[in-house]
């Protein structure tokens, strides 16, 4: 089984990197290889420019925080935190100091003598974090650290976790399948799929200039238009048309005229407009009121379903069955060569 294939990634000191990808993309395997828990069939792992591919996990100082936190059930909160220092035979004085500091940092001072099973999910997460920090790791490996928490807490902890890492100057590799989490937390995002890294960049780069249709859809969800190039070149708006004669516009690209392409526009950048200003027209199939916004599914004949988000204030302007126009700002639309395996295959998540 190939879980991570031909994967190259460099993480800087003090960087918060999110490894983002769908389930089964090889994210956890990558973390395990870095931690030394899984031996790669080929390839190397460097920590501080030192080759540690053959080193045992305990020699790496790369601490893994697993999805379930793996707090040792037979130890109290304090004993869990002191596990690393104990092993390293740190002097009593220093151990005591570390413990007090960390308990305070993760706000568990009052629960020091509790057992993990007596803690709430959030407390367990903080306990596991404190345990990891106690060993002063060179790199902290977080495997879906927020997954087991409920929705509200998960959002609160995003900021907390990131600011803690930044305040302590930690190097973090954070694995997640949640694109929003990655966008909010990361300095850089590495998008991984089928064991390969497709794109590495700041959240803004990955969101605004996706490297492939897959990234365009996986990070922020896109609408797609398939056609061939009528006009392209440096600094010129790319013009794409399809067999039914519909024409859309996208940002400049270097692909030659007549090549088959896919245009991707984030659903958040797709606008509902008068038919006269529209690139495309379609019929509203469904309108889902989601509170702050209205989510519209629009059937564009021959192209399938387009999704659009409308502010709640405009919700009375559109109803199911209406024919509406769609367009977008030309700068926000990316152009990709048509994927070899077909578009559907390219966008498939698992």
């Amino acid at each position: 089984m190939v879980a991570a294939d031909d994967l190259e990634l460099t993480v800087e000191n003090g960087e918060y990197l999110c490894l983002l990808g769908p389930t089964g993309a090889g994210k956890t395997t990558t973390l395990r290889i870095i931690a030394g828990l899984t031996a790669p069939d080929s390839g190397q792992v460097f920590l501080d420019e030192k080759d540690v591919t053959k080193a045992e996990p305990e020699e790496r100082n790369a601490v893994l925080l697993s999805q379930t936190y793996s707090l040792f059930p037979t130890m109290t909160v304090a004993e869990n935190i002191l596990f690393g220092p104990e092993i390293r035979k740190v002097p009593e004085e220093e151990k005591k100091r570390t413990l007090i500091e960390l308990l305070d940092l993760v706000r568990l001072t009052k629960r020091a003598d509790s057992y993990p099973r007596e803690l709430s999910g959030g407390m367990q997460q903080r306990n596991a974090l404190a345990r990891a920090l106690a060993t002063n790791p060179d790199v902290l490996l977080l495997d879906e650290p927020l997954r087991a928490l409920d929705a509200r807490l998960r959002i609160d902890l995003r900021h907390e976790l990131r600011s803690l890492a930044k305040a302590l100057g930690l190097t973090v590799i954070h694995v997640t399948h949640d694109q929003e989490e990655a966008l909010v937390m990361a300095d850089r995002i590495a998008v991984i799929r089928d064991g390969r890294i497709i794109q590495v960049g700041t959240p803004r780069e990955v969101f605004d200039s996706p490297a492939t249709p897959f990234v365009a859809n996986f990070v922020g969800q896109s609408n797609f238009f398939t056609g061939s190039i009528l006009c392209s070149g440096n600094d010129r708006t790319t013009t794409v048309h399809d067999e039914e004669g519909r024409v859309v516009f996208a940002r400049p690209c270097a692909l030659p005229v007549d090549s088959k392409v896919v245009v991707a526009v984030k659903i958040g950048n797709t606008r509902v407009v008068k038919k006269s200003d529209a690139f495309l027209t379609g019929t509203v199939e469904r309108a889902l009121f989601e509170g702050r916004i209205v989510h519209l599914d629009v059937d564009v004949p021959g192209l399938g379903r387009y999704s659009v988000k409308l502010p709640a204030s405009r919700r009375d302007q559109v109803s199911v069955g209406d024919e509406i126009g769609l367009n977008w700002s030309v700068k926000k639309a990316s152009v990709f060569p048509y994927p070899e395996g077909g578009l559907e295959n390219e966008l498939k998540v698992d």
């Binding site: 790496r60 100082n61 893994l64 379930t68 040792f72 059930p73 037979t74 596990f83 092993i87 060993t135």
Partner: protein, 553 residues
Amino acid sequence: MKRQDQLLEFVNRKGFRKGWSAFIIAFFLLFVVLPTVFVVTYAITDWDAISITVLSNPKTMAIIWDAIAVSFAIAVIVTVIDFFAGLPVAWMLVRKDFRGKELLDTLIDMPLAVPTAALGFSAAIFWVVDPSPVPLSLSIISSPFILIVLLHVVFSYPYMVRSLAAILEEIDETYETAGRTLGASRLTAARTITLPLFRAGLATGVILCFSRSMSETGGTLIALSTMSSLGIVAADSFATGPTLIADWRTLSFTDPSYTPALAFVSILLIILSLVLLVVLKLLIMKFHLPLRRVWPMPEKMLSRGIFPKLKDGSALFFLAMIVLVPSFFIFTYVLFATPQAAEWDSFIFALGYSFLLAGIVTIIDIALGIPFALYISKHREKRSSHVLDVLVNVPLIVPTAALGISLTLFWSNIGSLSGLEFFILVLAHVAFTYPLVVRNVAGAVEEIDPSYEETARTLGANPMQSFRRVLYPLVKGSILAGAIMAFTRSLGETGATQAILGNNAPTAPVFIVALVQSDAFFQAGLACIILIIVSYVFMLMLRYITRKRKEVI
């Protein structure tokens, strides 16, 4: 301190760990599996002897086939009885709440605390027709076959109930609830929904009961011997596979011409048990019980009123009358019997010898069984680990008497046995107790999320530290449970011991067999009681430890 650190560092090296794993596996293959089945090679090297003295001798062949057929028939009947009598009790233990449940839970395991030698004596005195019966005894059985069935039910019954209860606990009750809200009666729901999910537990229970019955020697010998001293002649010529081995083994000490026949019976028993293990496993997994059909009205009727009470009542009655009373009848016997002069020195020596043996065996089991259990449970993805996992069960299935013969042949092939009796006994007992420790520990380790240890490793612990600080506290209970099982099993074992050293083997159970065979009933009774009390204390410890473990998790 420094030297210790160096040692630890050495022990944690990859190369050392690989070598250690290899050593553990080699030990298992060479000292547990190989001796167990070694006797089979006798068929190749000494086929001539077998064919001349055994195969061409119709009288011997008839005895062998009779004994083996009897063994099988008894094992089948016992297993079926265990299932039907055990299922309602297992159900009660898991699904019902009632006063005295704790007590019932304890009572079920009671027969396990009694060494089979004592059980055989106790049950025989309770059941067998006696011209001057002991007060309160039933004194109604005169057929050795029925007596042995009744005896084997006593000590296999707890295994069946425990296996069924264990799997029942895993089966989500909501399935049944769903079935009942869809209109099925209690009986229909239980029968069509829960029972089909039972197969795994059934397989374990059936295999345990079957192999226990096939393998039992000491209790059977004593029961038969008691029966014959009570004047029932049929018991003299009655033999199961293991008792035949025991009898012939005794004779072979003076007349070596019995060796080929002994080897032949052992080979047959070993091969048949192994084949049976595979067949039973496949059969239970593949065989579809005809459970789909539904008879709504009669089943509805049977689910109500007096019938469920009748079912539970008769199951409990069975437990009391067939299992518990015969197990402990020996206390009554000793109370009413006329005291005889008894010679205690040799029994105390035998008891001490048994304890020393069981102690050493348990230490070896733990020292070499835990690493082996860790190896198989941590290399689940490797095929070799699956093979080893299956092999571990072999010594549990093979009748211990056959195992004893096999071991004797194995070691006498290598060198002279004289002076090394204790050593050989230790190895024999290790062979059939080792799987108990391995099963327990491997089962517990597999339950535990590997991420605990992995996290410990990334936090800087080497493999030794992560075992000692993280894994060990989590599986401590299972290690102790396995150790106590191994200890009591070794303490009460007769078949293999006798096969190796004959009736002169200085262990307590063999000593009791010898007492019964020389009609020293009173002293045998007292010796049994002492053995029961000692085993019972260990049993209590086991329950205490396992209960505590449940609370932690």
